[in-house]
Symmetry: C2
Subunit: 335 residues, 2 copies
């Protein structure tokens, strides 16, 4: 549903259509956050997420098991970003007849493995024919004090939990296919990135440990720049990412692999998505050890990068041409 | 994922993959019923349902608003068949870029209208690009004593709540387009069928009133014959539909419209789907007024039709060639 502005307008329209008194009676947090938070039963956190062939993944680059596992982690990542403990999930599998039962069972096996990893059993679902493979997962969790997108306050620091940029570089490595003759360190670094792309992990434990410390949180599905914009807009604050701090937070393997492939690691970190890291904001004194401070929150609007040469550069949308087209990671599957 | 046996095998495979101790701890009813029933929070009933272009609907026959409304009622019908009261829903809209924002907003408007009718507000969701329009809805409800598919007992009667066959005839009428010069009574009867196809209604109130009376229930999404087979298989009983009783339960408009279009109303009732009527079983003495007795439950296996000429005829799968191909109502959109 590109371009981005259209997506934004659509969300606004959907909020108008679906919002209203009835929705507010049932949910204290609704459209516009990672997940809905129900008032009755209290503290129930609920999300739905889709992985569509040709948009979120291609079968050329990923095994059917990996497609299933990724879709599940991506869904549960929404609960992780709310600080919720997953309870259970339902899975809707839609597939062309040509995929056959064994193919669909491989997708389901990937989902089942992820469900075990995340202690979030699949308790039901639905199977349907379709012209393309798509997996829609809904997950329920519980959170005593859910972390929302609209809680950031001026004076907070911005925290990064988990790694960013690796999935983007891993995708590029897979897409180019040839691993070539490279030094061992480069090959190993590329393998780390490919693994991050193939097997992302929802940071459930980390998300829960942010509760009581962070004021706002979001998971990085569309890329840091775009996801931080949601926090800035909904919290009505200005967010500035410190380039030097972000560079220090990047994994060494990301820098090595990006260099080997001729990519910019900072760009991958800012505009690459599907890392399922968590971005949070909170008072400096409350930052947990596993979170790295990479920026600040101030009064104002927008998302900016304070570059190492002392300038402030707006991070609108993504960071580069990858982000110009589409929501989510369409750019990734259709570069 | 046709043919039927393959679908059945797939469900068996998915039950194996997703089942297990973890799933049983969380859900007392899981894969294989209309909806999952959670143990914690107790009594929470949860379903997911997809409506896919070219499989469940075509844009040639239905407005975008009707597509949205139907998809929502179809989802909530799963809760109705469990005797649950709907709480809230999430909506996943996937659409090609060509549909544009206004088109997707029309689908959402149809869903929003259905949500109001059913007192089941949409509290969140997700939007994604895809090559075909598909709407995946998940709904939560509560039920003190959920009606399951596996509760039918020998000696029960089979009850029909709501109408069957109309949607099938309405679809045929729309597909043939020309209404022609017909007597007023025929035109009105066809309009009733078309309306049943365009605007099905989840029987939430009726479903709730079956609790404490019925022992088993299922909603008619794939056609009576196929849906009763689920009850017979899961309850390990033999179900016999009485042709004369079923004919008496058919709406006069169905008989008139079917005759006008050269269709068999009994066949439409047995193999047509998407009526979202409820089939239940229970002791004769407990049958509510709004339910019509159309058959009996006995020891044994399978689903049979006791014909008016005194024979017993197995109702395997659907009833005729419509049902030979595929799960769900694929036959309806691709006759």
């Amino acid at each position: 549903v590109p371009p981005r502005e259209t997506e934004h307008e659509l969300i606004t329209e959907l909020t108008r259509l679906f919002g209203g008194a009835a929705a507010r009676r049932v949910a204290s947090v609704g459209i516009g956050d990672d997940a809905a938070v129900l008032s009755r039963p209290r503290g129930l956190v609920w999300t739905i997420d889709a992985a569509v062939e040709g948009v979120h993944f291609t079968r050329e680059l990923l095994s059917l098991e990996a497609i299933g596992a990724r879709s599940f982690h991506a869904c549960v990542s929404d609960l992780a970003a709310m600080g919720a403990r997953p309870l259970a999930a339902l899975s809707n599998l839609a597939a062309p007849a040509a995929l056959a039962r064994t193919g669909l069972a491989r997708v389901a096996a990937g989902q089942a493995a992820a469900a075990r990893e995340l202690a979030c059993p699949v308790v039901g679902g639905n199977v349907s024919r379709a012209s393309e493979l798509s997996i829609t997962t809904t997950a329920l969790g519980v959170a005593t004090r859910p972390l929302r997108r609209d809680g950031a306050r001026a004076g907070d620091d911005v925290w990064l939990v988990g790694d960013v940029g690796l999935a983007r570089v891993g995708f590029e490595a897979l897409r180019r296919k040839r691993r070539g003759r490279r030094p061992l360190a480069e090959r190993e670094a590329i393998d780390v990135c490919v693994h991050a792309f193939e097997r992302p992990r929802a940071l459930v434990d980390e998300g829960r440990r942010l509760v009581g410390r962070a004021r706002a949180a979001i998971d990085v599905s569309d890329g840091m720049a775009g996801d931080l914009r949601h926090v800035a807009t909904q919290s009505r604050v200005r967010i500035t990412i410190d380039e030097a701090a972000l560079r220090r937070a990047l994994r060494a393997e990301l820098v090595t692999a990006a260099a080997a492939l001729g990519l910019d690691p900072l760009e991958a970190a800012l505009s690459g998505g599907e890392d399922y890291a968590i971005l949070a904001t909170g008072p400096a004194a409350k930052r947990p050890r596993f979170a790295r401070a990479i920026g600040t929150v101030a009064r104002g609007r927008g998302v900016f990068l304070a570059t190492e040469d002392g300038r402030s550069r707006p991070l609108t949308g993504g960071f580069d041409h990858f982000a110009r087209t589409a929501p989510r990671d369409a750019a990734r599957s259709h570069p």
